[in-house]
């Protein structure tokens, strides 16, 4: 009996789910551009900001119809979502893939249906590049290089010899795109300028692990003066560990303060920059909406678009010692990037 009731309930839920999709499909029409967006999930603040950016950009007022699908971290949900988009004959598909591999078949189906696919954030690994139209995302290697260049410029301005910079690197989850790029950025700096890199250890992008790893490092070395955290959460943990050990975080290395460099520029992270606890925070911009819209408009106008598109990312620092840094991005283009001294207005004015 129990099983029957459960089965009936499940069936009802399925019917309800299917009719919801039908409603969405029927609403198409006119000169509204329909965009299907398959998002990874809602695992972090960054992801939530990414979703919100898409939702506000592709709003009805702007002349779009956005069909949003949350995959809850599962690729099979994304495959279903993309096939649904194809059946509903959307004009464009935005795909934020959860993993890199396994997309060939479904992307071929989209290509056969002549629907342009824009990959967002993480990359897809497919045998044929023409299976997707273009990619938008962040350049974590550039982020790492920016941070390294900032550190060099800062040390030079404060007249600190490169060999006197004793750095520990709290890495992200090993193998993630962000970790690989940001670690490489630092390692290139170490190679180039001759810094003293004491140790690299993963904090798995979490506050608790960042704290635990920093605690251990502080006991091992008593000369640490730079902590390179590969995201803000790790930086929060590292700062707590440093303060618990009776040391201070700040920007005055000569006076024995420990300088913290971080990434992501979350709201809480920038607040720490304002307090001087994080010296430099490099942005990892989740606001992909405007860039995606620009690409769609270009495609609508029949223009050719670049295969790889990096969103603009800023650098925020506690003070104005360094005005700008020069760094090379993943496309081997050298650029000059301004460093913004943080203020409360900037924090209040940001979307995430």
């Amino acid at each position: 009996m129990k099983k029957k009731i459960l089965a009936a309930f499940m069936a009802a839920a399925m019917v309800a789910g299917m009719s919801a999709i039908n409603v969405a499909a029927e609403e198409e029409g006119g000169d509204v551009i329909t965009v299907g967006f398959s998002q990874v999930g809602a695992e972090s603040d960054w992801r939530t900001a990414n979703t919100e950016s898409m939702q506000t950009t592709f709003s009805e007022e702007n002349g779009y119809e956005l069909i949003f699908s949350d995959a809850q971290q599962k690729q099979e949900n994304q495959l279903t979502a993309v096939r649904n988009f194809i059946q509903q004959e959307v004009d464009y598909i935005l795909l934020a893939p959860v993993t890199e591999t396994g997309w060939d078949t479904v992307l071929q189906e989209a290509k056969d249906a002549e629907i342009p696919v824009i990959i967002v954030d993480r990359m897809v690994d497919v045998s044929d590049d023409s299976l997707y139209t273009t990619w938008i995302g962040t350049d974590s290697l550039l982020e790492g290089r920016k941070a390294a260049e900032w550190l060099n410029a800062y040390a030079t301005a404060k007249e600190i010899a490169p060999e006197d910079l004793h750095i520990v690197d709290i890495q992200g989850t090993i193998g993630s795109t962000a970790q690989i790029g940001r670690t490489q950025g630092l390692e290139e700096g170490v190679e180039k300028y001759g810094w003293d890199l004491l140790e690299q250890q993963s904090g798995e992008f979490t506050q608790a692990k960042g704290q635990e790893v920093m605690e251990s490092m502080l006991k091992k070395y008593d000369n640490i003066n730079v902590v390179y955290c590969e995201n803000d959460n790790e930086a929060f943990g590292a700062i707590d560990a440093i303060e618990a050990a009776g040391k201070t975080v700040g920007t005055d290395i000569a006076a024995g303060e420990i300088l913290v460099i971080s990434f992501d520029t979350t709201n809480a992270g920038l607040t720490n920059v304002l307090e001087g606890k994080i010296a430099c925070d490099v942005e990892c911009n989740p606001l992909h909406g405007p860039r995606a819209e620009a690409l769609i408009q270009a495609l609508e106008a029949g223009e050719e678009v670049e295969k790889l598109n990096y969103v603009d990312e800023e650098i925020f620092a506690f003070d104005d010692t360094v005005a700008s840094v020069t760094a090379v991005n993943s496309l081997d283009e050298e650029g000059e990037y301004a460093v913004t001294p943080i203020t409360q207005e900037i924090i209040d004015g940001r979307a995430y």
């Binding site: 809602a42 695992e43 972090s44 603040d45 939530t48 890495q171 090993i174 193998g175 140790e199 690299q200 250890q201 993963s202 798995e204 979490t206 506050q207 608790a208 704290q211 635990e212 790893v213 605690e215 251990s216 006991k219 091992k220 959460n233 929060f236 943990g237 707590d240 618990a244 050990a245 009776g246 709201n267 809480a268």
Partner: protein, 352 residues
């Protein structure tokens, strides 16, 4: 000889030997591992880190031991239940905001609600296992997967920050007491639970139900109720661990609080020389097991093992420890010994 046999034959002999073995590695590899000093008014040193960081695991291991003993299975949802408790506690304290600098609701109400939520999770598991007689691992798999989702729902998918000094006490320090507070939580939990087990007949009941549920029922024990109770206790203990973990990072990180801790808790029970099939149990053994696991992690950090290689070393050590404790291995060793003792004639006799 008989004295030696008495010592080596004791239940807790092997768990203690394992812990000492792990610590001995440090004497050779990291001589300053045992240095304890007072820094910034608090105790400071690797060994303090081990005792401090193991606290949540100790609390979980206590609950896991009871569940294992009574039902002959494990509760794999404890990590997720930790996240649920942390989410409920922080969400009530923040009154729905993402980050607050003062309590919006009373701390006592928040803690009670969090523990109630954890107890409810435990009761749900207990109902499935004790009443519906579902395999413990299958029954708790439900909350293992759904628990973090529930926690996410509670926190609206955000990390909720409680930036209040008194909230950080449970994971930090109270006033000028130099010992980290989590240590007290662990000690108090162990003392209370062992007192309950000793002073009432509950411990005996749990063992009898675990050894033979039917026989226990025939002598008048309500085995369903006892199994149910162990799951509720396990849930509440996971709730306490969750609050401590969230206090450490003054936030509710639904994705990461207690992540993979259920496996460590089960391992602690196994390392403690407890039979995972239920029956007789040793609370102290599990506690020693929990400290062994944390000692291992901290040791590997201190020895600068790369993050991506860490699980491999952990696995090797675990394999060795578990093999040493297995009955078959013990018999094999005993067999070798008796062969040696009986001398050559027996060997020539070819009795195999």
């Amino acid at each position: 000889m008989s004295k030696l046999k008495k010592i080596t034959g004791a239940r807790l002999f092997l768990p203690i030997v394992c812990l000492i073995a792990v610590l001995l590695i440090n004497v050779i590899k990291t001589p300053d591992f045992f240095n304890v000093s007072i820094q910034n008014g608090v105790l400071y040193g690797y060994i303090i880190d081990v005792i401090n960081r193991a606290s949540e695991l100790v609390i979980l291991a206590v609950g896991m031991t009871l569940v294992t003993a009574a039902s002959g299975g494990q509760d794999i949802s404890v990590g997720a239940v930790m996240a649920v408790a942390a989410a409920v506690c922080c969400q009530i304290l923040s009154g729905g905001e993402v980050s607050v600098t003062e309590y919006q609701n009373s701390l006592i109400i928040a803690v009670i609600a969090a523990l109630l939520a954890a107890a409810l999770c435990g009761a749900f598991n207990g109902f499935l296992v004790a009443k519906l007689k579902i395999q413990p691992m299958v029954a708790t798999l439900i909350l293992y997967t759904a628990g973090r989702g529930i926690a996410q729902l509670v926190t609206n998918g955000q990390i909720t920050y409680i930036r209040v000094d008194s909230y950080q006490m449970a994971g930090g320090y109270i006033g000028s007491i130099p010992v980290p507070t989590p240590v007290f939580f662990a000690i108090i939990t162990v003392v209370i639970v062992s007192l309950i087990l000793k002073k009432t007949a509950l411990g005996l009941y749990i063992e009898s139900v675990g050894i033979n549920g039917k026989a226990a029922r025939l002598v008048g024990l309500n085995s369903t109720l006892i199994k149910f109770l162990t799951y509720v206790i396990c849930g509440i203990l996971a709730g306490i661990a969750g609050i401590v973990a969230s206090s450490r990072i003054y936030s509710a990180d639904a994705n990461n609080i207690g992540l993979n801790l259920e496996m460590d808790a089960i391992l602690a029970v196994a390392l403690g020389g407890n039979f995972l099939g239920g029956g007789k149990f040793s609370l102290l053994g599990s506690v020693i097991g929990a400290y062994t696991i944390q000692a291992l992690t901290t040791t590997l950090y201190a020895m600068n093992v790369k993050a991506d290689q860490l699980p491999v070393y952990k696995a090797i050590v675990v394999i060795v420890i578990v093999t040493l404790q297995s009955e078959t291995f013990k018999k094999f060793i005993a067999g070798l010994k008796s062969k040696k003792a009986s001398g050559t004639p027996a060997a020539e006799g070819g009795q195999k």
